[in-house]
Amino acid sequence: MSVLEATHQIEETTIRPGRSLGQDAVRRLARDPMAVGCFAIIVLYAVIAVLAGFWWPDFQTSINYELRNQPPSWAHWFGTDVFGRDVFAKTMLGAKVSMTVGFMANAIAVPLGLMLGVLAGYYGKRIDDLVVWFYNTLASIPGIILLIAIKFAFQNVVLFRDTAFAIDLTGIHGLYVALGIMSWIGTCRLVRAETLKIKNLDYVTAARAAGAGHLRIMFRHIVPNLMHLAIINFTIGFVGAISAEVILSFLGLGVDVGTPSWGTMINAARMDLVVGRWWEVIAACGAMFLIVLALNIFGDRLRDALDPQLRI
């Protein structure tokens, strides 16, 4: 490239209208075929999660004991399960559980981590000590053990019992809460560190000098600059939550009996491989593999796209 061309390009860049971090990230992601592909898979899973319940509303009673444990065929692409139900439908309904768990767990964890991280980073001192002590303590307990303990503690616990808002924590709701209260630590650590840095930047000092209150500074000036961390953590946390749901369901501590999920499918298929029935476990593992891979790749690309240091 000649010197003249390079100068010309710089001029073009400088005269281009300004773009926000978000707009820039979207533009860069849109240009990345891998990111687009992964995003399409995530959207597809999300659509399946929303529509599967409507598409197969009678799955639970779609039993046909004559067709138990049939291998894949044209009628049943992924074969049938122990009750003669379609494994394809079961896999799709499992996506609903996994996507919901991933979303709900992070809907609890990410805001919680964000809030605690900002509070700790902004106020420092005792609040910081308290938050750091709390997440260090929590992090020192092996995650899966704590998760199992929380799920056991939730057995037969119903919040707001006898009201219209009753939440039975024994089943899937308990899973949301357990995963949510276990998964905020990573977000909190990152946000706290970033807040410690941001709170001393000029624009925050200026806001303080202009008489802005603590809450306004935090939520108007600091939090918006941390949202990229929240988005990235949401994506990464999604993978963790899906995996944890599968593990807990495998251990019999996940979803309610009668709710199809990939974890229960894998659990149900433990004996299947020994006797040559591979379709149910392959379907569940394959579905999980695809979404976890897509989320991981998309999370990586999103982190790159939202990193201001990589902005052109």
Binding site: T61, G252, V257, V275, G276
Partner: protein, 632 residues
């Protein structure tokens, strides 16, 4: 400084070689040269105390160590009661109230430190005495022991025993002087003569005395193991009364007369029994039923028992590892998991040739048990509407349940008694123990009216969601839960399934916290009364009536049969009582099990007994064949 180096070096060497030493002392070497049976059990052993035994797993393990006054002939069918520690069948007075039982002389307990020490350092033993049976019965009546099953057979039966139980409640738990109190109805006339005086005739008593729950307990066991503990210097010190527990809890406290003694009990992991050298009174039966000789079951007739030196049991709660261990010849006997059934058994219900060629044979047997879903009759919803219970019984396709979940291994239970019980046939099938969805809908309409009258319908007129507790957490129980949901959903009954481990379910049932739950009963003795007592009102308090069923007519009938001898009149009352249960439906009957067991051909003399525990002593192993076929 040198010392520090040396100590550090020693610590490092210890850490390095400890695992090597541990591996070197593994059980395979420890039992080298001995005949060892390898097997597994699939539920946790709850107790090793005979008085508190109430589940089949514990009973099976206890049967290796404890013996009773009577037992069952190993081979004869129908079952036949024979003396075990008793010298003969009891002498009964004409009024059938006084039983005099003479004991075999020179029956000795396994050696145990509680009897003292020989001059050569070995623990002593002693002869079994009648007073040991008196203590066993007193322990069964002890208020401070959880003896629900043992006590249910004796309460209101023996003169003075209920009063004794009352008295024990006034003692502190750790005060074992209560065992010195006299009970008029249970006395040792001399060292080898026991006398039991009844309140009213109790023809089932001999069967009850064949249960290991009343195995003799030497007083030395209480004085030594339950009242003292090692003080760390090789001697023993008294345990403060506040810390004493009346329950037998450790292997060293398990003092029995049986062919084995428990040497290792890693709770939830393994149990190892070794031959009791003092056992000298067991012999293989000389005769059996027709076909036993041809089946090779009389080859060891008259031979002293046991044939096996060590019973090595490992606790494996799940089917898959247990099945894989059997296939790799790590276990001598194995059951077939439902998922593997079709690869083992052909459509004609026989073992596939390829397994027979591997030296495996199939043993099929039914045992006198019935499984059911129990309604908690104290529950506001299922307890208050008979029509709801009837509808749920009619809506449940038990035939499919057996086929789908058990590969057809079982039969639909149609009344509370197993088919092997004589009263089963005249009692006939219950009108609601059949699959009829239309009739279920009709009963459901009636149920809605009953529930509406009782104020238990939801605001939108729906029947409230019903919670069903299941006593297991693994995949088989999850499937069972799903199947149950599938049965009730078509008639509009919403069901929530809660999976529990077995002890948790028992605790919930005990605390009356369940609405509907999985349960069953394995007969303790060949008499219908054993099943009917589960619904006798006064047994709610004793813990055996856990449906909380209370029907004054049923209770009155039960009071009548309590003291009746086997007769057509008694059978008629039994039938009436079963009809009451059939109509009230306090349980949703499921299945009578049929067991398919796989046994390697190096295991001889295997014949399943419907009631007796501790029959492993009759088994013989061909070690040479096991080794040749790749076994342990």
């Amino acid at each position: 400084m040198l010392k520090v180096y040396i100590i550090s070096l020693l610590i490092v060497l210890t850490l390095v070689f400890a695992p090597v030493l541990f591996l070197a002392l593994r059980h395979e070497d420890r039992y080298a040269g001995k005949t060892v049976l390898y097997n597994s059990y699939s539920a946790k052993v709850r107790t090793i105390d005979p008085a508190t035994c109430g589940d089949t797993t514990s009973a099976a393990m206890q049967g290796q160590v404890y013996e009773s006054l009577y037992t069952y002939h190993y081979l004869k069918r129908p079952v036949e009661l024979i003396p075990e520690l008793a010298a003969a069948m009891p002498e009964v007075t004409a009024d059938e109230l006084v039983y005099t039982i003479r004991l075999k002389p020179d029956i000795r307990y396994a050696r145990n430190p509680c009897f003292g020490q020989e001059s050569d350092g070995r623990p002593k033993t002693r002869e079994v005495r009648a007073e040991d049976f008196v203590l066993a019965i007193k322990r069964a009546a002890d208020f401070h022991l959880q003896t629900s099953l043992a006590w249910s057979f004796l309460s209101d039966r023996i003169v003075g025993l209920d009063a004794y139980r009352e008295q024990t409640s006034t003692y502190r738990e750790g005060d074992f002087s209560r065992y010195d109190l006299e009970v008029d109805g249970v006395r040792a006339l001399d060292a080898l003569t026991l006398q039991i005086t009844l309140v009213a005739p109790y023809p089932q008593l001999v069967y009850v005395l064949a249960m290991n729950t009343y195995a003799p307990i030497p007083r030395e066991l209480v004085d030594y193991h339950l009242m003292t503990e090692p003080d760390g210097s090789g001697r023993r010190r008294e345990i403060p009364m506040t810390r004493r527990t009346p329950q037998i809890t450790g292997p060293e406290q398990m003092v029995g007369t049986g062919p084995y003694r428990l040497t290792i009990w890693d709770r939830g992991s393994r149990m190892v029994f070794e031959r009791n050298p003092e056992y000298n009174h067991g012999f293989y039966p000389l005769e059996g039923e027709e076909g036993d000789a041809e089946a090779g079951l009389l080859e060891n007739a008259g031979t002293p028992l046991p044939f096996i030196d060590v019973l090595y049991y490992e606790c494996i709660l799940e089917d898959l590892p247990s099945w894989l261990r059997f296939l790799s010849r790590q276990e001598d006997v194995g059951s077939i998991p439902p998922d593997a059934f079709s690869m083992v058994i052909n459509p004609e219900r026989a073992l596939l040739d390829k397994w027979q060629e591997q030296g495996i044979r199939l043993v099929k047997f039914d045992y006198p048990a019935v499984f059911w879903l129990a309604f908690n009759m104290d529950d506001a919803v299922v307890g208050s509407s008979r029509a709801l219970r009837q509808a749920m019984c009619l809506a449940f396709n038990v035939e499919d349940y057996i086929e789908v979940l058990s590969n057809g291994r079982g039969q639909r239970a149609v009344n509370i008694l197993p088919r092997s019980f004589p009263t089963h046939e005249p009692a006939g099938p219950g009108p609601y123990y059949r699959y009829d969805p239309q009739a279920a809908q009709a009963r459901l309409e009636q149920a809605r009216q009953e529930l509406a009258a009782a104020g238990h319908l939801e605001a939108d007129g729906r029947i409230p969601e019903i919670t069903i507790d299941i006593g297991g957490r693994d995949e088989l129980f999850r499937r069972m839960g799903e199947f149950i949901q599938q049965q009730f959903e078509p008639i509009g009954i919403r069901v929530k399934i809660v999976l529990n481990d077995w002890p948790t379910l028992q605790q919930k049932v005990h605390n009356k916290q369940c609405q509907l739950y999985t349960m069953g009963w394995h007969a303790d003795l060949p008499d219908a009364e054993n099943f009917l007592q589960l619904f006798y009102g006064p047994n709610i308090e004793k813990g055996t009536n856990n449906t909380n069923y209370h029907n004054p007519d049923f209770d009155a009938a039960y009071d009548r049969i309590r003291s009746m001898r086997d007769s057509p009149e008694r059978e008629k009352v039994y039938v009436d009582m079963i009809h009451m249960l059939n109509e009230d439906c306090p349980i949703l009957l499921l299945s009578e099990p049929l067991v398919y067991l796989l046994v390697y051909d190096w295991v001889h003399n295997y014949k399943r007994h419907p009631f007796a525990y501790g029959t492993t002593k009759y088994l013989r192993l061909d070690l040479e064949r096991r080794r040749m076929q790749g076994g342990r």
